[in-house]
Subunit: 148 residues, 2 copies
Amino acid sequence: MSKLTDPKNLSKTELEAGTSFAPRFDANGLILAVVTDAESDAILMAAYMNEEALRLTFNTGFVHFFSRSRNSLWKKGESSGELLEFVEMRVDCDQDILQVRATQRGAGAACHTGRKTCFYRAVAMDDDGFSVKDLGIKPLFDPNERYK
Amino acid sequence: MSKLTDPKNLSKTELEAGTSFAPRFDANGLILAVVTDAESDAILMAAYMNEEALRLTFNTGFVHFFSRSRNSLWKKGESSGELLEFVEMRVDCDQDILQVRATQRGAGAACHTGRKTCFYRAVAMDDDGFSVKDLGIKPLFDPNERYK
């Protein structure tokens, strides 16, 4: 199994303009992955990957994460059926965030609330302060039924 | 100045389905903001906001961040002219990541490399291991000229 490049061994120019993939995992060995719909480009969700989740995403063709709350590897959709089929991974200029382009399987809900996307509310600010407003994106299934 | 809701005071249901905006800042008082093109939905960049940057984004109409490397407030595009005009903020289900929909001003480059987006490389995996491949997104200006 080939090793990943250690970003500490790269200059800023090599990190930003070279050909080495050197993901800058944080102190816990995690990197944020923002999942976007491969067709529409819309943001679906964001979660963390460790090195194993990253490799499994390439090797299985399905998006894997590392769950911080459960402290374990997490194949997205394993219990809900809402799998994310892996299309392409991109990395940002300083290699500390991943974009994962994917195709949603199952009912089409990346969010555990049953919605297509986790970003289903807009933040509003008025004289009374901040609030969130539902954008009207309807759940595609009842999460209480699906996850029981 | 109205206070933000403390997420510790909310139940999971209130956090995910209520009307309170309760951003879950990390131990350093920061929350990740993913900036997307308000028209195309494409990811442009991602950076951190503290509470002041979040408020200034609403109050000025231009996207502000907190720079971890410079340890200071950062009005995006202040030195480069590549301002991001604020359109809408969204928050994810558990309120630990923001999506900021914006319109790029200046030459149209959200990335300091002069490209429209920071996600200009795809990650490839083959028998020799991982590498990154430039997607061919051309810089809109020469960063060495612009930032001198």
